[in-house]
């Protein structure tokens, strides 16, 4: 019984992660320019990756694997904004102008 609840919770998290990764992918295609696409990418590495990793934690039970998954999650949360920022800064440095206030 308890195992079943854990399974359900795990799959809910995995589902949320998968859905947000998918929406992030759709956003990458739909959004018009580089800077706006970065926001879609930001979605896949916060809730996308986070949901999947938390779902895996529930699936693995409470052991060393869980600890490793927590480490992965922490590292993603520290490194992904840093890399996003450096990519954005490089684009700015190269003189790439963001598209502003476009509505269509």
């Amino acid at each position: 019984m308890e195992g079943q609840i854990l399974q359900i919770v795990a799959w809910v998290f995995l589902g949320v992660g998968a859905v947000f990764s998918l929406i992030g992918g759709i956003g990458l295609i739909r959004l018009p320019d580089f800077y706006t696409r970065m926001h879609a990418a930001g979605m896949t590495d916060t809730l996308g990756a986070g949901g999947i990793l938390i779902g895996l934690m529930f699936l693995s039970g409470f052991n060393l694997v869980t600890a490793k998954l927590i480490f992965i999650l922490l590292f993603i949360f520290f490194t992904s904004p840093t890399s996003s920022h450096s990519v954005a800064k490089a684009a700015m440095g190269a003189g790439f102008k963001p598209l502003l206030q476009r509505r269509d």
Binding site: G27, L64, A88, P98, R103
Partner: protein, 169 residues
């Protein structure tokens, strides 16, 4: 003092990641922890930036708030992307930061980037250029709630002996 704390953290990490607990491997692990801590101490990187232990308690309060913000803005961005008309209004704005140290400013910039819908483009002096996907997201950053919270966390660290020489780079 920080070096000792670093050694303990390294040892905890090692124990969690290895999963082997026989004497030989334990002593090898202990030796490598001490070696790494010693090298870090020799390189003089065990300071308030390299190992910001002084932030720990306030960070415990800040993280849940940040995670909640991330979830909220994830949903906002997802809805914007999925709506057929895709109502985006990309905005670039400059916000002033009120953190006392570079570390605090970096935490703030990273928090901005970590929340979907806003990316920090450039960090300089006491300002950050932010690119926002929607006008609403830009307004959210301009309201300064996140800035205030990071400053609070950073200042609490400064009191317990973190901040001095914060502009060293």
């Amino acid at each position: 003092m920080r070096t000792v704390a670093l050694t303990i953290c390294l040892a905890a990490t090692w124990l969690l990641l290895s999963g082997h607990y026989d004497p030989l491997l334990l002593s090898l692990g202990a030796a490598s922890c001490v070696l790494v801590a010693w090298i870090a101490w020799r390189m003089d990187v065990v300071d308030h930036e390299g190992f910001p232990i002084h932030l720990s308690w306030q960070a415990v309060l800040y993280w849940p708030w940040l995670i909640f913000e991330i979830i909220k803005s994830n949903i906002d961005v997802a809805l914007v992307i999925l709506r057929p008309s895709m109502p985006i209004s990309p905005t670039v704005l400059t916000v002033k930061t009120t953190q006392g140290s570079e570390l605090g400013q970096v935490i703030y910039a990273n928090s901005i980037t970590l929340t979907p819908g806003t990316v920090s483009l450039r960090v300089y002096d006491d300002k950050i250029d932010v690119h926002a996907l929607t006008k609403a997201g830009a307004d959210g950053i301009a309201a300064g709630e996140m800035d205030r919270r990071v400053t609070l966390m950073d200042a609490s660290g400064a009191k317990t002996g973190g901040k001095s020489g914060g502009r060293g780079g």
